[in-house]
Subunit: 296 residues, 2 copies
């Protein structure tokens, strides 16, 4: 697929940018800084940064304009994974085939590393040297990231997720959970990317949000499908893990075929939302397709 | 002491402001919102908000100008307490005589409530309707809060604290730990308060930071003194708790008398730093004295 080299170049680009923005692992708090590096520079696919950069590209700006936004969303994503893996949460020992942060370090350090990464995400935006982004845009980026990552966004979604284990959720409740848990941060990717360029109209910002929310849902439905269909080796995690926990999923609520149809429908909706963009948004379109067609 | 009514009015003021800024405890994520309310509206003394308001007063502005800054620092403080009390951290069951957040709810909810409160602290600043504070000042407030609360500030100090249990720290290392762990957020109180007014000169901002760092150290030394001298009932926590954990303290390093002298010295330094302010800064001066002379 033609978008793969783009994803790979974004991965390299953001890994370098992240490394430059993390505290140097030295001094009395070295263990904390090591844990932050470990939790962030972890071989992740960096789909969220790719969405930031593709948005910057859609608005005809050089990718560097998206560096701080990409780092901020990825730090937020990584902090949430570190906390998500904790014994009191999902209690995962492995992530991408490597020990999770609290296993490689210890629980206290993992909690603090997550906390520090969240603060750093906001700091990265305020410290941005990007000349395209003025103070008002930085503030809008911070407002959007804090809302999307907080109690009405990502964390709210995780709380609903926790509360839903063993519960019968309706399809609309499941959708609400995922729109918060995954969709909100994906929305932050395209919106922060667009705000960083200082070139997006209100209509373009709204279209990007619609795109992101649909992509977020498609992403989650695909996750549920892979959890049923994929094998453990390809996924790097236990196949059927969510099923074992008796968590409500799209496949358990809709069945496999209807879940695939819903993923397709959300994909179409995402593509349609980008109608007001020209072919510079093709990478964004290809990313949406990639998310639906990935097998891990 | 004449500052007590001021502290009490700040307590009432910020409690109301916090309540207005927390998510309404309803809907599918109600348990999370309840935990956030529980962790924030907890009968705390609100010394940090009082420092914000006293700074606003020193700069001759109405207290309302400090509401968002006061809420932001207090939310940050409360999130750090919730995470600090977790079993993997200090493992405390009681705070101010009431069950800690993870006891009253559960560990996962306490982790998420802390995470959500951190995000909300930044959101509160971006959403501020305070007409005295322009975009540039809001950004400076966010930059300062993220730095003071992150890996080079509060969280960095907690990491040093964790690493120091059973270790022999030098006096300068102990000072560094407390300057990060407590001093940084106290610095955020006066600096955010000053930035919110948009009236502080560079010299005044620098003086307030010096004041805050000394007050922060005096506060911590006093804590160590109270831990040796105070009785359990007055403190609301186990007397000698830090001693039991074999944590380095000012009293263990300096002895009780020298620790008292050092607290006095930091107090004098704090007061001297305010020399360029007129009598409108008297409340700030009285707060410094209150912190040294408190017995709980």
């Amino acid at each position: 697929m033609s978008v793969k080299p783009f994803i790979q170049s974004c991965q390299e680009r953001v890994n370098l940018a992240l490394q430059q923005r993390l505290p140097r692992p030295e001094g009395v708090a070295k263990r904390l800084y090591d844990a932050m590096h470990y939790g962030v520079l972890n071989g992740g696919k960096r789909l969220r940064p790719a969405l930031v950069y593709a948005t910057v590209k859609a608005l005809d700006c050089p990718l560097a304009v998206g560096d701080d936004a990409a780092c901020a969303v990825e730090m937020t994503h990584c902090y949430s994974l570190i906390h998500d893996d904790l014994p009191a949460m999902d209690d995962d020992d492995l992530r991408r085939g490597k020990p999770t942060c609290h296993i490689a370090f210890d629980e206290a350090t993992a909690i603090l590393a997550g906390d520090a990464l969240q603060a750093q995400a906001f700091e990265v935006i305020t410290n941005s040297q990007n000349s395209a982004t003025n103070s008002d845009n930085k503030l809008r980026m911070i407002a959007f990231l804090s809302k999307c990552s907080g109690s009405l966004g990502m964390i709210g979604g995780q709380a609903i997720d926790l509360a839903s284990v063993g519960q019968a959720l309706s399809l609309s409740e499941l959708k609400q959970m995922h729109t918060c848990k995954t969709g909100a941060l994906i929305n932050a990717c395209v919106t922060l990317g667009a705000l960083a360029t200082n070139r997006a109209s209100q209509a373009e910002l709204a279209a990007l949000s619609t795109f992101a929310i649909s992509i977020g849902l498609a992403f989650q439905i695909k996750d549920d499908i892979l959890d049923v269909e994929g094998d453990t080796q390809t996924l790097g995690k236990q196949q059927g893990a969510d099923l074992d926990l008796n968590k409500p999923t799209y496949t358990s609520l809709l069945g496999l075929e209807k879940a695939k149809e819903e993923a397709h429908r959300q994909h179409q909706k995402a593509i349609a939302a980008l109608d007001l963009f020209d072919d510079k948004a093709d990478t964004l379109r290809e990313l949406a397709t990639y998310i639906i067609e990935r097998n891990h």
